[in-house]
Amino acid sequence: MLDSKVFVGTSDWIWLALMGLTLFSFGSVNLNSERHYIGNANSLLILSIALIKIRLIVRNFMEVKTAPAPLRIALDVWLITLFGGFVYFLG
């Protein structure tokens, strides 16, 4: 046992949320153990979920939530750019 408390902080819940979102994305493509092809709308949804996961990692794991404003803004702009690109190519 590395820590006296197994779940003690926000980061632990964030990790659980990341796992949940990952399994949701995977499950939506591999229903009933059978892979099925998804359309552009669902592809966009899955990539959007990935962006939500990234924001959770950036803000909580990388501590950007408490970083200087220019870094916070730059990374949010990057995420918006990624989303814009995904919409452009899949929308």
Partner: protein
């Protein structure tokens, strides 16, 4: 909290305005990370551009990949990142020994990621599939190969941090180095978070 670490926080120019505002690591590592993210963003968009021209071919290529192994590697990366967060928290509370154990766990997960990738590549090569087997596989091997290189560099960096943290009381520089290693490893994690759905799911 470790005294030297507290002093470092106090000397941070932003923290004199708002003690809660703090840049983890050095400015240099963030410049590198932002550059890395821009390069990968470009590669993601190039992939999607070519994919939009021949979706069916990309879907056929994707069907030959093991989404289960992709999922396994995602779980490995996310867990490894989480262990780094715990290592950082332990280090800041002065528990160097516990921090080292979490670091070792993160390194083990990083190695596991590489082992899974080794078997995945091996499986593809045994089927006669390589980087020349069409557009999809060119992207697959280039994107995952560059990412795997990041993983290997990250594991080595975490190993160096683990080795450097044998002292009971760490210097402010060692705390900064740990933060740099941590944010780099989280970057490697978040890049995989995009690569997984891009190559295996959509």
């Amino acid at each position: 909290m470790n005294t030297e670490f507290s002093e470092r926080c106090a000397t941070n120019s932003d923290s004199t305005v708002n003690p809660k505002i703090r840049l983890p690591g050095e400015v240099g590592i963030w410049v590198f990370i932002c550059g890395d993210l821009l390069v990968f963003t470009f590669l993601f968009f190039v992939f999607l551009f070519y994919r939009s021209n021949s979706v069916q071919i990309y879907k056929e290529g994707q069907a030959s990949l093991s989404a289960q192994l992709g999922l396994l590697n995602t779980i490995i990366m996310l867990t490894s990142s989480w262990l780094i967060v715990r290592a950082t928290r332990s280090l800041r509370s002065g528990s160097t020994a516990i921090s080292r154990r979490y670091l070792l766990g993160a390194i083990a997960f990083g190695c596991s990621f590489s082992v899974v990738k080794y078997f995945e590549y091996g499986n593809k090569f045994s089927q006669g599939i390589d980087i020349t087997s069409g557009e999809f596989f060119m992207f697959y091997f280039v994107l995952t190969g560059i990412h795997l290189l990041h993983v290997i560099v990250g594991v080595l960096a975490l190993g160096l941090l683990w080795r450097a943290q044998h002292a009971r009381a760490l210097t402010a520089e060692q705390h900064t180095l740990h933060d740099c290693g941590a944010v780099y490893w989280h970057t490697v994690d978040l890049l995989w978070v995009v690569l997984f759905p891009l190559l295996y799911l959509i």
